[in-house]
Amino acid sequence: MTAALLFEQFLNGLQFGLMLFLMSAGLTLVFGVMGLINLAHGSLFMIGAFFCAAAAGLTGNFWLGLAAGMAAAAAAGALIEMTVLRRLYSRDHLDQVLATYALILILSEGTKILFGPFPLYLDVPPLLTGTVNLGLTEYPLYRLALIGFGLLVAVGLWFLIARTRLGVRIRAGENDREMIAALGVNIRALYTVVFALGAGLAGMAGALVGAVQSVQVGMGEPVLILAFVVIVIGGIGSIRGAMVGALMVGIIDTMGRFLLPRIFATFMEVNQASGVGAALASMLIYLLMALVLVIKPKGLFPIHG
C-alpha cells in the first residue's frame, strides 16, 4: 500500500462526505425547524438528477441542467409542503413516516411515467472532464470540483443561517415555534421556504452526483438511508452536526471498504477476506452510529441541549 493510494482514498471519502452533506443539510433543517421526518427527501434527490439529465440532454449544457434540476426539486418540495406535509406537522412521527413513504412510491412511479423505465444519460460537463495531477496521484477533475462545490455550499449555508434575517428566523423556529409566530413571522411561509431550500439542496446533490452515477428510479433511497445516519450522528437539526457527520461517514465508509479486506487478507484467504471485509465494511457506519449514540444519545451537536 502506498501513500498515493491512501491519499486518493482520503479525497474519495471527502468528496463522498460532502455530497452526503448536501443531502443531510436539507433533511436536518426540515426536522429541526418543523419536526418532520421526511422519507421522501431521497425522491427530491432523484427529481434533481432526472430534470438535470433531461434538461442537459435537450440543451446540451450541463449547467443549465443543474439549474433545472435544482429548480425542479425546490418546486416539487414547495408543492409537497403546501399540499401534503403542512397537514402533518401536528401529527405524530409515525403518520409522517407513512405519508412520506407514500410520497416515495408516488414520486418514483411518476418519474417512471414521465421519463420511462430506463436509466437516463447525464455526462460530466466538458470543462471538468479528465484528471489533474496532484503530485501523489492523478485525480478526476470532476470529483475535485465536487469537493470544491460542497465546501462552497457549506460556507453559503453557514452564511445564510448565521448572518441573514432568514437565518435568524430559521434558528428561532428551531428554538420556539409558538413564540416566533406570536412575534408576527409568517410561519407557514417560513416552513415552505425552508422545505424548498432543503429540497433544492437535495436536487443539487442529485444533479451533481447524477453525472457520475446511474440516473434511475429509486436512486435516492440508498442515499437517504446514509443521510439519516449522518443526521443521527451529527445531532438532529444541526447543520454543523450534519457537516461533521457527513465527513465522518464519507471517510470511514470509503476507508473501511478499502482497508478492511486488506487487513483480513493478512490472515485469511484472499477471496474469503474480500467477502468478509466487504460485509463488515458495509456495517461500519452503523457501528459508528451506535457508538456515537451510546456516548452522546442526542448526537454530536444536539440542538435542544
Binding site: M1, T2, A4, L5, E8, Q9, N12, Q15, F16, S108, E109, K112, P117, F118, P119, L120, Y121, D123, V124, T129, G130, T131, T137, E138, P140, L141, Y142, R143, V209, A211, V212, Q213, S214, V215, Q216, V217, G218, M219, P222, V223, T254, R257, F258, P261, V270, N271, S274, G275, G277, A278, A279, A281, S282
Partner: protein, 381 residues
C-alpha cells in the same frame, strides 16, 4: 324481453359457442419487474414476449402480466394468485435469481410449468433440477465462464475482478475464475446497489492489473463505467452481457465503447429469426432489443412450439415437446441439456457505435455448445 336484450343474449351465446369450438387458450402468467430501479429489464422481457405472440398472430396463449416490484414475497403471492384464480398453467418472466428461487420450487411442485427467460441460479440447475422447470436463457455461471475463457483468448495475464457481494456476484467471480488461467491482481466485492466506486477504482489504479473483469448489473454498472471513464485509468474491461446490455448502454454512453462482453445472443446475429426479431422489435417499440428481450422472445416461441406439438393437459407429452425445443431461436442453435438448461454457444461482443447508437457486435466465440457444470449433479436424464 326487449329486442335489445334479445340481441345481446344471442350475441353472447354465439361468442360462447365459437369460443368452445376453438381450443381454449392456455393461460401463461408473466411475473416480472415493471417498477423501481430494475424496471428496464422487466419491460424488455414483457415486450419481447408480447412481440413473439404478436408476430406469430396466435391466440393459443392468454397472457397475464404482473409486476413483482423486484420483491420475492410479492412474486410468490402473484404466482399463487395466477395459478389459483387465473388458472395459469405456465409461468415465466422473472428477472432476478433470488425471486426465481422464491417462486420456482413452490410453483413446479404444483405441476405448473415454469420457463425462465433470464435468471439461472445454480441451485435449480444441479441437484435441485425438476421436470417442470425449464431455463430458456442460460445458467448464471456460464456467462462469466465465457468471459474467463475469452480473457485467455485475448491474452490477459493479470486481471482485477469485481462483483457485488451477493449470491449472483459470488457465482460470477467463481465462474470467471473457473476458466481464466492468468493471475488475479485483485478480487473485490462491492456492496449491492453501490453507486460510488471511487474506492475500488483507486485500488485498480494501484493494482498493476492488465485487465478488469466486472459483473455490476443495472445501475451499478452505469455508475462504475461513468466514474471509470473519468478516472484516467485505461485498462481493458471484460464482462458478461448484463453490465453492457442494450437497456443500459444509452445511459453508460461512450465510456462503454470497446468493452468486450459475453452473451449467447447479439443483435447483429445473422439468422432469419433474429433479423425478423430485431426489425420487429424496433418497429414495435422504437428501440433496440436487449439480451433480456431476446430471451423472452425465445421463451415465447418455445412455448408456442410445444403447444403446437402437444396438448398441455397431457403434461408428459407437453414437457417432452418443450425438451425437443423445436423452434427457431434468435440466438441460432438451441438445445436443452439433461437439466433442462440450454447447451449453446457463447459469443464475445464488443460495444460499438452504429449511426450514433451504442450497441453490441460479435467479435469472437468464447464457447461452442457449452453446458453448465451443475448439469452433472442433476438426476434427470
Amino acid at each position: 324481453m326487449t329486442l335489445h336484450k334479445t340481441l345481446l343474449a344471442g350475441a353472447s351465446a354465439l361468442a360462447l359457442s365459437t369460443g368452445a369450438a376453438m381450443a381454449d387458450p392456455v393461460t401463461v402468467g408473466l411475473i416480472t419487474t415493471l417498477s423501481g430501479g430494475g424496471a428496464g429489464l422487466g419491460v424488455d422481457i414483457r415486450d419481447g414476449f408480447q412481440l413473439a405472440l404478436d408476430m406469430a398472430g396466435t391466440d393459443a396463449i392468454h397472457l397475464v402480466v404482473e409486476d413483482d416490484g423486484q420483491r420475492p414475497e410479492a412474486a410468490v403471492q402473484i404466482a399463487d394468485r395466477m395459478i389459483q384464480s387465473e388458472g395459469a398453467q405456465i409461468l415465466t418472466g422473472i428477472v432476478w435469481s433470488n425471486l426465481a428461487m422464491a417462486v420456482v420450487p413452490a410453483v413446479t411442485a404444483q405441476d405448473v410449468i415454469y420457463i425462465s427467460p433470464n435468471a439461472g441460479p445454480s441451485a435449480l440447475a444441479g441437484a435441485g433440477c425438476t421436470p417442470n422447470y425449464f431455463n430458456a436463457a442460460y445458467q448464471n455461471d456460464t456467462m462469466h465462464e465465457a468471459a474467463g475463457e475469452y480473457a485467455n483468448t485475448l491474452g490477459y495475464q493479470n486481471a482485477f475482478i469485481m462483483a457485488p457481494n451477493y449470491p449472483a456476484g459470488v457465482d460470477a467471480l467463481t465462474g470467471f475464475k473457473r476458466f481464466f488461467q492468468g493471475e488475479l491482481a485483485g478480487e473485490v466485492y462491492t456492496q449491492l446497489g453501490q453507486t460510488d466506486f471511487a474506492a475500488e477504482i483507486a485500488q485498480i489504479r494501484a493494482s498493476g492489473a492488465d485487465s478488469i473483469f466486472i459483473f455490476e448489473p443495472g445501475g451499478m454498472g452505469i455508475s462504475f463505467m461513468r466514474q471509470y471513464a473519468q478516472s484516467g485509468v485505461d485498462l481493458p474491461i471484460i464482462s458478461a452481457a448484463f453490465t453492457f446490455s442494450q437497456d443500459v448502454l444509452p445511459a453508460v454512453g461512450d465510456a462503454a465503447l470497446g468493452v468486450i462482453n459475453t452473451a449467447e445472443w447479439s443483435p447483429d446475429m445473422d439468422n432469419e429469426a433474429n433479423t425478423a426479431f430485431v426489425a420487429g422489435f424496433q418497429e414495435a417499440y422504437d428501440r433496440l432489443p436487449s439480451v433480456y428481450a431476446a430471451q423472452a422472445f425465445d421463451t415465447a416461441n418455445l412455448i408456442l412450439s410445444a403447444l403446437n406439438a402437444a396438448d398441455i393437459s397431457d403434461l408428459d407429452a407437453f414437457r417432452a415437446a418443450l425438451r425437443a425445443a423445436d423452434f427457431d431461436a434468435v440466438r441460432g442453435e438451441f438445445a436443452f441439456g439433461n437439466n433442462q438448461h440450454p447447451i449453446q454457444n457463447y459469443y464475445a461482443r464488443e460495444v460499438v457505435s452504429v449511426d450514433g447508437v451504442l450497441t453490441n457486435r460479435i467479435v469472437g466465440t468464447a464457447f461452442e455448445n457449452h453446458q453448465d457444470v451443475y448439469a452433472a449433479d442433476c438426476g434427470m436424464e
